[in-house]
């Protein structure tokens, strides 16, 4: 793609294309050591991940044996009394709450990043960027308590309005039914959106800032507006890094535990409405792990953890596919 000559994108080039030292390859002991350390660090991370998956799969064997894979995935019954376990409501809840977080969080992150990179005067850039990054430093339990004690009561007051206005629309109105409790799937999604914002927006901002000013200025020179520059020049140039940032945020949303547990309402009964309580895989783990007394119960909870890893892997796989696909389309255009 970079052969088009006009726009060279941010991308990782294969090893063979990279410049090498022509002097003394691995000539210095320090270089040799550094090489080995880098290789070791990379393999260590992969090894830890691999070992974790093996350990989790091993500990969920009782439950896998008892319920199988397909039956566990599609069963909605989670009953510690009768020792019958199924994962369906948890998988749905995890995906739905993360989707809401992305739908709300990604556009806002994009706006924040464009503001910092393109619009804001220099004196305001630093404080805004700093404030956004501080959001990432707040522990998730604080988000949970904030969501439960401060956001939910305020949100509950807007829910009758949501019921009246959005709930009256045929079709999507089904998503906005239910008593004004202030907690539920939508609240969890909103809190998650705030939590993923710093991750996505700081990656977007960083890559937006390294877009060569020649590109930017050329566009402005031929009369492009800020929006056109952001959408047609900056975003395509940084596309794969932006998608990477979004999926980092999504990974955080899928695995978030404490904040979600406080505000989602923790009900295993599936509902079509986003205002009703729901449940996610991490939240049920946080809720039930400490008091899970039987082996099958513990094993089923670990099995849920295994499924969460699988969900994350599938999402990553889709992300890679998406990036490739977009790349190919862009390449065809050029």
């Amino acid at each position: 793609m970079s052969e088009s000559g006009v726009v060279s994108r941010l991308e990782i080039r294969p090893m063979s294309e990279r410049p090498k030292s022509v002097g003394r390859p691995w000539g210095l002991p320090a270089d040799f050591l550094f090489h080995k350390m880098a290789v070791f660090a990379a393999f260590l991370v992969a090894g830890v991940l691999f070992a974790t998956v093996i350990a989790i799969a091993f500990d969920s064997r009782l439950s896998i044996h008892a319920f199988g894979i397909w039956k566990f995935l599609k069963s909605s019954e989670w009953n510690p009394v009768t020792q019958t376990f199924g994962a369906f409501p948890f998988i749905v809840g995890t995906l739905v709450s993360s989707t809401i977080a992305m739908v709300l969080g990604v556009p806002i992150s994009f706006g924040v990043a464009v503001f910092i990179a393109e619009i804001a005067p220099a004196w305001i850039k630093k404080p805004v960027a700093g404030a956004i990054e501080l959001l990432a430093a707040i522990p998730s339990i604080v988000y949970g308590l904030w969501g439960l004690l401060i956001f939910a009561p305020v949100f509950a007051k807007t829910e009758p309005w949501i019921n009246d206005k959005l709930g009256a629309i045929p079709g999507i109105g089904l998503l906005f039914q239910g008593p004004p409790m202030g907690i539920g799937m939508l609240t969890a999604g909103i809190v998650l959106a705030i939590m993923v914002l710093p991750y996505i927006s700081s990656i977007m901002r960083d890559v937006f800032l390294i877009v060569p000013s020649s590109l930017r200025e050329s566009a402005y020179a031929i009369g492009a507006t800020t929006w056109e520059v952001a959408w047609n020049i900056i975003l395509p140039y940084t596309r794969s890094a932006v998608i990477g940032g979004i999926f980092l945020g999504l990974g955080r949303a899928l695995g978030e535990t404490m904040a979600v547990t406080f505000v989602i309402g923790n009900s295993n009964v599936l509902s079509s409405s986003l205002l009703m309580p729901g449940v996610t895989i991490p939240s049920v783990l946080a809720n039930e792990f400490t008091e899970a007394t039987t082996k099958l119960y513990v094993s089923s909870l670990i099995y849920l953890g295994l499924i969460l890893i699988a969900v994350t892997l599938i999402v990553r796989f889709l992300a890679v596919l998406l990036i490739r696909r977009l790349g190919r389309r862009e390449g065809a255009k050029a």
């Binding site: 989670w78 008593p179 409790m181 923790n266 009900s267 809720n287 400490t290 008091e291």
Partner: protein, 339 residues
């Protein structure tokens, strides 16, 4: 050089101190419910007897696992183990103190302890069969109250908890349908409602959502000034929750007849007995070293005798003396030695 020698001596001394204190440390783990009581007893016990009791509130499930693995001297569980499970794992158990829980509500115009509920009524509400506050079944018990035409929002615990076990055990005793459809455990498959994490989670939902009802520990009700209900007990009397009501529940149980104290204190007879009473069990290993078990027994014996006011100050009811006697003879019978 001199300072190095001083450091070395200090280090050696501190090691000696460490070893010495390690010998007089007692470790326990389990129930979060009983944690405030054990922590309070432990602080006073250390002052009086010099023995440090280190209790980690990791949850009943963890407590049972730890005592089975032999990593702690005692485990604590909110749910008693069945006698056959105890004997197969080589464990014994005994109760510690009694406590209770009650239903709290958020109803416009209705104050604390004005609402009266009965077990079958609560079961029907939590089964989702009674959906409105002005349902005739509720109105029948509360003829003086102006019950609103409002949806009932059921609030339950989302985390596994002894509070849930006690509550569901009670509902299973008073409602065959509950026993059949839901049952009792530290977590259950709730037919309806929203789940709050911990007593504080349930309390905050109930305080916020008009028309809601939830169950929380009695100590938490007192602390947070929640509006709690009066209940109709097994004898048909309308009672308010009180320490005496919890203790009466224990007093009406014949612990000498129950093997391994496998009795749950819900729904017992007695005119003042509070129906949703519960207690926490301590679990020991039979084949643990005698010194270890003796140290645990001494600690709890001290607590039964000297810790009564401490227990009351945090809304735990001390065990009736008949129960304490039963525990002592149980120790002798099961372990072959006594204090």
């Amino acid at each position: 050089m001199k300072s190095l020698r001083v450091t070395a001596i200090l280090l050696a001394l501190s090691l000696v101190g460490f070893v010495a204190s390690a010998q007089s440390t007692l470790t326990g783990a389990g129930s979060t419910w009983v944690y405030p009581l054990v922590a309070k007893w432990a602080a006073a016990y250390q002052q009086n007897n010099g023995v440090e009791v280190n209790y980690q509130s990791i949850g009943s499930g963890g407590g049972i696992a730890q005592i089975k693995a032999g990593t702690v001297a005692f485990g604590a569980s909110d749910m008693p183990l069945k006698p056959e499970d105890l004997s197969s794992a080589g464990l014994i158990q005994f109760p510690t103190a009694v406590a209770g829980e009650d239903l709290v509500y958020n109803l416009p115009g209705i104050q604390a302890e004005q609402l009266v509920l009965s077990g079958p009524l609560v079961a029907d509400i939590y089964l989702g069969k009674i959906k409105k506050w002005n349902d005739p079944a509720i109105a029948k018990l509360n003829s003086g109250l102006n019950l609103p035409d409002m949806d009932i929002t059921v609030v339950h615990r989302s985390d596994g908890s002894g509070t849930t076990f006690t509550f569901c055990d009670y509902l299973s005793k008073v409602s065959p349908e509950w026993k059949d459809k839901v049952g009792a455990n530290t977590s259950v498959a709730w037919p309806t409602g929203v789940g709050g994490k911990g007593n504080e989670g349930v309390a905050s939902y109930v305080q916020r959502i008009p028309g809601s009802i939830g169950y929380v520990e009695y100590a938490y009700i007192l602390e947070s000034h929640l509006f709690d209900a009066r209940m109709v007990n097994r004898d048909g009397k309308i009672v308010s929750p009180s320490l005496k009501g919890f203790q009466d529940a224990a007093a009406h149980v014949d612990f000498t007849k129950a093997q391994d104290f496998y009795v749950i204190l819900t729904d017992h007879t007695g005119p003042d007995t509070w129906p949703i009473s519960g207690c926490t069990w301590q679990i020991l290993r039979k084949n643990a070293p005698k010194e270890t078990n003796m140290a645990v027994m001494k600690f709890f014996d001290w607590g039964f005798e000297h810790g009564q006011d401490m227990a009351r100050s945090i809304s735990f009811g001390p065990l009736p003396s008949s129960t304490v006697e039963a525990i002592k003879s149980y120790w002798k019978k099961e372990l072959g030695y006594s204090l």
